[in-house]
Assembly symmetry: C2
């Protein structure tokens, strides 16, 4: 059955497949320019690549039917969630069907006593948290964008809460998967832990839709803390900010969020979100716990911040103030991109051992200073993970080349520090060469797994690595 998908050649949809899809999916099979365009672009700098058609799934059975039809016709399938991924992860680079999961958006069960829930993959994280609010539970993983749970699982997303609550690898208890053969499997039961065989759950988490299609996700939840306090603190130096976080973690302070923003990012945030924070390296904090425990955490962190050149804390304790603060953080990407009118964004991320973070950010800062393309640094400093966001003129190819060179130096710098080429965006099409630089022969083990589970290369071909 090896064919176009595998070889990477693009081939029009066979008429027989079109007929079968029209019959099976009716108006949920679409080929209009607007729909194709929406599914062929992403939030980052990659050039649009249109799929040949879009199918909107409503059920696991839909996905099984689509997989069987596409397998028979040897036409690729690219799962699609909210389209918020950064490394071109959901672009149909070999054509085929963009499988839109966003209408599978039902919360199937909330098991409050077990601190878990079962959702369809199209549920978005903000809607899930609204759904959970009355039960005193929350889902902590927060990558900024209002991504789908399926998309977040596929890219092993993390974000602002990961320092305390982990990433999607920690949040996902079990997956329902449609395999490339059209078999429906469940990767684990609902127990909180298991030693039963290979950890398929975590193999599919982060596999970017290349091994199977996620049709349901069992997620671990957390009780909403009694007290949530958020604060902003500016620093004389980036190093002082980073040291404050490292020392806080050494003191076992269970920080719930701690975000670093450099001076340029603060200027952009102030302008975009109409705020008036000091324009200096800044930490955004959130503390979770009992009132007494939060007070104790804050005391420790304030003392450390002061010793490292930090300002007084500016507090946001009321829910609406906290929302405003984190909305500003979440809009940081748009704030950074829109520093220039008509610009587009290029976002990259690396993650290094936390002992190297200050040095890695400082060296990156120096590199950015020499660039003609505006750029900001912000990151999840408790994890050693940070982003650089470039604001590129789409009509200036030399800017793209310049950013590519800076990105290459950034990743090389992170790898030299025993870090990773991507902390949370995934490989997609943007970081394939770096994956090999990072993991060498281990990538061949990944290829062996892909070939074994998807010998036809039906699912999201060309992502993570070329076969």
């Amino acid at each position: 059955m090896a064919g176009t998908a595998h070889s990477g050649e693009r081939r029009p949809l066979p008429a027989s497949l079109v007929g079968a899809l029209e019959e099976r999916f009716g108006d949920r099979f679409q080929r209009g320019a607007a729909v194709l365009g929406q599914h062929g672009s992403s939030e980052s700098h990659f050039a649009p690549v249109l799929p040949d058609a879009v199918v909107f799934a409503h059920s696991t059975d839909d996905v099984v039917a689509l997989v069987k039809l596409c397998a028979a016709a040897d036409i690729p399938i690219v799962p699609f969630g909210a389209g918020t991924s950064i490394e071109g992860n959901a672009l149909a680079i070999n054509g085929g069907i963009s499988l839109d999961m966003s209408q599978m958006d039902t919360v199937l069960a909330v098991n409050a006593e077990d601190f878990d829930c079962v959702v369809q993959p199209g549920v978005r994280r903000e809607e899930l948290n609204l759904h959970l609010r009355d039960q005193g539970l929350f889902f902590p993983i927060d990558p900024g964008a209002n991504a789908t749970i399926g998309g977040m699982a596929s890219t092993r997303a993390s974000g602002t809460n990961a320092v305390r609550y982990g990433t999607m690898k920690d949040a996902v208890l079990s997956l329902e998967i449609v395999t490339p053969q059209g078999t429906v499997i469940r990767t684990a039961r609902r127990a909180r832990k298991s030693a039963a065989g290979y950890d398929l759950t975590r193999l599919y988490v982060g596999s970017e839709g290349t091994l199977g299609i996620i049709t349901a996700v069992t997620l671990r939840l957390h009780p909403v803390p009694d007290t949530i306090s958020a604060a902003v603190c500016s620093f004389e130096t980036l190093g002082g900010a980073v040291d404050t976080v490292v020392q806080s973690i050494q003191c076992a302070v269970p920080l719930a969020r701690v975000e670093i923003l450099d001076t340029k990012q603060m200027i952009a945030v102030n302008r975009w979100s109409k705020l008036d924070y000091p324009e200096a390296p800044t930490l955004f904090f959130e503390f979770h716990g009992s009132a007494m425990n939060v007070a104790e955490q804050v005391e420790t962190v304030k003392t450390l911040a002061e010793a490292n050149g930090g300002s007084a804390f500016s507090w946001s304790n009321l829910p609406e103030e906290r929302s405003k603060l984190w909305r500003a953080r979440h809009e940081a990407y748009y704030a950074a991109v829109n520093m220039r009118a008509g610009a587009i964004g290029w976002a990259t991320d690396v993650c290094v051992p936390i002992s190297r973070l200050a040095e890695c950010i400082a060296a990156t800062h120096v590199d950015l200073e020499t660039s003609s393309v505006p750029a900001t640094i912000l990151g999840h400093v408790g994890d050693g993970n940070f982003h650089v966001i470039f604001s590129i003129d789409p009509n200036a190819p030399e800017e793209m080349a310049e950013v590519e060179a800076i990105n290459a130096r950034l990743v090389e710098r992170a790898l030299a520090m025993d870090g990773t080429c991507t902390g949370e965006h995934g490989i997609g099409i943007g970081k394939q060469a770096w994956l090999v630089a990072e993991l060498g022969d281990a990538v061949e083990q990944m290829r062996m797994i892909k070939r074994a589970l998807d010998p036809q290369n039906l699912l999201n071909p060309g992502k993570i690595f070329a076969l």
Copy 2:
């Protein structure tokens, strides 16, 4: 190259391989009866199965050399750590070489600022914690036995601290692996998180040595808490004890350990460890945090315990008292087995959603009451995971049959509650049928991975599933 390993037929070591191993390993290649016997038995009820030889590895190069020689001769390799596994995970059921990793026991690096370390697989967890003690760090995973880190990674071990600190899937940041082709790979860099490709780290964790041989492990560490407090509390009913834990977790109390022991287990513990605890359903607690935070946790849990029929707390705050308390818990297995002179142990474990735990334990209790074989229940109640330990007369085959039937009912009960057939012991040879009952067609995906990565079925053949 498909041969004996794959087919499960046992074949003597070819003379050419014996010669090559003698030349390469000298007196680290052994075939004496005592050594074979030691590597052919386990702590549980499985009949001994001798390997054909034992090789003691001292380096990654040793492992590569052994893999290449055995691959050429088509002779299986079974990695061996401390021999403390429960489901026959390290028995050489198809013969071949038992690869003893216990002499690769060096702590290679401690990166205190990054809260991680790199160790050889033969390091044992107690020795690691001794090594870390001066640096204010500890490695929290504690399955009871003083297992090797490599063995713990291979079975996805967890234990008493998992409720707060997770299992080996959370503790392992990266692995060095020798593949069945003799290639050395590293599954991840030292960053705390990554979205770079398939999560090979967690594929190898829990794969019981069937996919690759672990030659180094990077572990996540934690700061030693300021205050550690341990307490024992007895209850009128098992249900009261379980409800106390469920409600504590709902109140977001970050319990560090919480262990349940039934009345029979308490009788056994008192007798074996010369203690005088009340002989009633009992919880062993440990609290970690700042002094103030621990006091607050304790206050919450005491109130809940009291409301659920709990006794006053008996405290063990001094390190030596705590050690005594946890030594009693760790010796619970031996205490249970030795309720009868000359008995051997059969330990099993299941894990269910915590909302079903009281019911699962209660039904199991009823089942055990009707049995002629003495048995105790103890478990990691915060995870929904518990063990049953039978004390069997090795000369009474009818007891083995009876225990098999009880074990079957236990696993069926757990599966019916959406639980798993093993929370932390692994599948080994003991739970292969239950793995299929639990995960159905997902097991075929596991087989496809095994066939792809180890087409010769060289590594620990016959474990987890038959090919």
